[in-house]
Symmetry: C2
Subunit: 107 residues, 2 copies
């Protein structure tokens, strides 16, 4: 079963931040990681991914730099900031709340 967008909506940024918590990474790789972690049940669409990057950068949650690849396509790397770490903690806590609430409501 695949998960509808509306259900995942709003988790995108938290998911990206979580990935960046482990290590700096770039768009393509982050998405691959997500797919792997979820056994291919969930993937961020590229447009969704990149618009989330813009928002996160705008909010100061991530900063970006170009990789120094000499071969292959260039990579734009993302790194989580202190602000991003804080935002992530908020997202995570919110998720715990949401779980409780929805579990209560869907009986």
């Amino acid at each position: 079963m695949s998960i509808t967008s509306d259900i995942l909506r709003g988790h995108t940024e938290a998911i990206i931040l979580s990935s960046l918590l482990e290590q700096d990474s770039y768009g393509y790789q982050i998405n691959k990681d997500i797919m792997k972690k979820t056994n291919n049940t969930y993937e961020l669409k590229e447009a969704t991914l990149y618009s989330a990057f813009r928002r996160l950068e705008q909010a100061g949650c991530i900063r970006t730099y170009w990789g120094d690849e000499t071969v292959g396509a260039r990579r734009r790397y993302y790194a989580i900031t202190d602000e991003g770490r804080m935002a992530y903690q908020g997202y995570k806590q919110e998720w715990q709340e949401v779980k409780k609430i929805i579990d209560k409501l869907l009986k």
Copy 2:
């Protein structure tokens, strides 16, 4: 802490169906029930509620009838259909999946 719209988005219909599973009810009451169940941490906005009713009716998940109140404001009652029960089971199962996925992704 209040829950952002984006997080709850997509759960609205499931929440309403769940409420109707217990008994026929009407908009105002359904919302009150939800608030009570969540200790006032979550309420559906009216516009959200009514647009969800329209979708659910359109999809054949609920049917509606007017109450026979002789005093006070009229009430439009909603009842869940067999189709609605099936849809609810789907939503519920999806929620179990989503919980697992997000838990995996937010480490």
